[in-house]
């Protein structure tokens, strides 16, 4: 099966004196349907890696293919289209628009695809039901609890059925109860076939996921399959 994501020799050097080598040569293949955790100490390059996977940033050297597209040869506009149609993001800070309802926030996940408004709202409603927020559809984002906000954000990331969902510490701002629920939701969505890469500080979560990539100082320190352990 062709990989959803393929990185070869990816480096990222932040300018400065001296320059900061955030990534120092990453080779990584992620196949369709995988659920991968990325762990590592603070400053090890996890976020930088995720940004490059999501085409929000470009590598200083090396190649990366996402969903079959050679990112290095695409223009900024083309990368925007790639993100709109093939990549979903979940952030630690949720990044919801507080003035909008849950429904509109999720529908915004399709805002730049050019799909008609009616269709966007229908898909958004279905997705909110899927993440268990059917009763919160018309609630303003500012009125939701942290766990609910992250569910809305997850719904927004998957509403377009992207080839790849990238989450940067999605449970970092949640209590343990909400955190467990979000992880369970991600596992559920993965079981339906969505490929996911999740950065986490939580070793329990990393141990639950089928594959674990550990970074240290901008290099892959370990890339291992977990024995299909019970949650």
């Amino acid at each position: 099966m062709s990989p959803v994501l393929e990185m070869k020799g990816v480096t990222r050097l932040y300018p400065g004196t001296p320059p900061v080598p955030a990534l120092r040569g990453i080779d990584l293949r992620i196949a369709e349907g995988e659920l991968v955790s990325v762990v590592g100490p603070s400053g090890s390059g996890k976020s930088t890696l995720l940004h490059i996977m999501g085409t929000l940033d470009r590598p200083s050297a090396g190649t990366i293919r996402v969903s079959g597209f050679d990112v290095g040869r695409m223009s900024d506009r083309q990368l925007s289209a790639l993100r709109a149609q093939r990549i979903g993001f979940v952030f630690q800070q949720f990044h919801l628009l507080d003035a909008e309802t849950a429904l509109d926030n999720v529908a915004d996940g399709l805002l730049y695809t050019g799909r008609p408004a009616v269709e966007r709202r229908r898909l958004a409603r279905e997705t909110l039901e899927k993440v268990g927020l059917a009763h919160r559809v018309h609630q303003h984002a500012s009125k939701l609890s942290g766990g609910e906000r992250q569910r809305v954000a997850v719904a927004r990331a998957i509403v377009g059925r992207p080839a790849l969902v990238l989450a940067d510490e999605p449970t970092g701002n949640l209590d343990s109860h909400s955190s467990d629920a979000i992880v369970a939701l991600l596992e559920e969505l993965n079981a339906e076939g969505i490929t996911m890469v999740v950065i986490t500080h939580n070793p329990e979560i990393a141990a639950r996921f089928p594959r674990r990539v550990a970074l240290r100082d901008g290099l892959v320190e370990a890339d291992e399959a977990n024995a299909k352990g019970a949650p």
Binding site: H51, G54, L56, D57, G68, F69, D70, R73, M74, D76, R77, Q78, S80, A81, L82, R83, A84, Q85, R86, F89, F91, Q93, H95, L97, D98, A99, D108, G109, L111, Y112, T113, G114, P116, A117, R156
Partner: protein, 400 residues
């Protein structure tokens, strides 16, 4: 294109407008205040143009009503010209000029007017006494405020009509208690009060008596000091040029001919000059409003970095981001522009009503006002929009 069926990011127009309105909806007070700057600028431009146009049209209507065919003939008042009097044949000579329709002569009398006979005669109160013909009011297009004008019946008896200022100075507001004035050493009943006479304000400060009464009681010698002449409107210039030699064939240069409506026209022109000054001030207000919008937009871009990053992650292109912020500035300016046009129109309407003018706002002020607002909005929004668009997605999403 990359070739494998990836459609470019695109947005529906309705969504473009909705996202541009996010900043306005979520920060209403700030949006309102920054739109207020533009609103005040546009309102003052519209009001200045509207007021000047309304007052000018009122003045022109007044000139029209009064007629530009009234001429005033007076003795020249230059140095060494001796007594300021016209020849006593003047009135008869002028009425022989073909296009002249009416001539009304007045003479100045050396007499004073008082409310009582007790005031020392050195205090004249600034009221002059004129011997006039009974057709004077008609010739001037003046109006009676109370009572009647002098007529042939009254010609033989002492009777006086007061100009508006003269009446006020003498403390006479109505004729109910049959007021008398002490004029030239004798009691004269006041038979009429005049409205202000726009074409000859000097008569507002005068007490008018008939020539017959003036000769009878005040020693008037019948020599006129001024002639009021109505001509055929098509021949005004020609009549103006023949009047001096007709009035005084020997010394035509001792005769002054003037056209009172010229002064009103000069007043209209002077008001235009003021208008330009105020327009300049309005433009400055508008500029300040534009700077306010630019300022608010720069702050908005800084505050909404995370939103910009999110939108880029959701697939917005740089252009989508730029358009969103540019349009937000335009919306702010448009709100201010529409509000300003409404406010300016309201102010003009209210003031015109108070002054009794017709409301007249040049359409240039309305369209120009809106266009100026949108132009200012574009300029004010351009730099912040470019900054927002240039922000890299990772930079925008960084939390520190």
């Amino acid at each position: 294109m990359s070739g494998n069926g990836l459609a470019p990011s695109r947005m529906h127009v309705a969504d473009v407008l909705r996202t541009a309105g996010v900043g306005l909806r979520t920060r209403k007070l700030r949006a309102g205040l920054s739109a207020l700057g533009i609103m005040i600028g546009i309102a003052s431009l519209v009001a200045v143009l509207g007021l000047s146009e309304s007052s000018k049209s009122d003045l022109l209507a007044q000139i029209d009503r009064l007629g530009t065919n009234l001429l005033v003939v007076q003795a020249g008042q230059g140095i060494g010209l001796g007594s300021a009097e016209l020849p006593d044949t003047a009135s008869a000579m002028v009425s022989r000029i073909g296009p002249v329709e009416e001539v009304s002569a007045t003479g100045t009398l050396d007499a004073n007017v008082y409310r009582t006979d007790l005031v020392p005669s050195s205090q004249s109160g600034g009221i002059s006494v004129r011997a006039v013909e009974t057709d004077l009011l008609l010739t001037l297009g003046g109006r009676i405020a109370a009572g009647r004008f002098l007529d042939e019946v009254a010609a033989e008896y002492p009777a006086v009509v007061l100009g508006s200022v003269a009446a006020e100075r003498l403390g006479i507001t109505d004729l109910d208690d049959r007021p008398l004035v002490w004029l030239g050493g004798q009691w004269f009943p006041v038979v009429g009060l005049l409205d202000p006479i726009d074409l000859s304000p000097d008569l507002d400060r005068a007490a008018l008596v008939t020539q017959a009464a003036a000769e009878e009681y005040l020693g008037y010698d019948g020599v006129p000091s001024a002639l009021y002449v109505r001509t055929d409107p098509d021949w005004v210039d020609a009549v103006m040029s023949v009047l001096p030699p007709t009035v005084n064939p020997e010394n035509p240069d001792q005769v002054e001919v003037s056209r009172p409506t010229d002064a009103l026209e000069a007043k209209a022109a002077a008001e235009s000059a003021f208008t330009n000054l105020f327009l300049g001030l309005g433009a400055v207000a508008l500029l300040v409003g534009g700077v306010g919008i630019a300022n608010v937009m720069v702050i908005s871009v800084l505050e909404r970095r995370a939103e910009i990053g999110l939108r880029r992650a959701l697939g917005a292109t740089r252009r989508h981001v730029a358009v969103q912020f540019l349009l937000e500035a335009l919306l702010l300016a448009a709100v201010g522009g529409v509000g300003g046009v409404l406010l300016g129109t309201g102010v003009t309407a209210a003031y015109a009503r108070i002054r009794g003018w017709g409301l007249l706002i040049p359409s240039l002020a309305l369209w120009g006002g809106l266009t100026a607002a949108l132009l200012i909005g574009t300029i004010a929004g351009f730099y912040p929009a470019m900054r927002a668009a240039r922000l890299s997605p990772t930079e925008a999403l960084r939390t520190t």
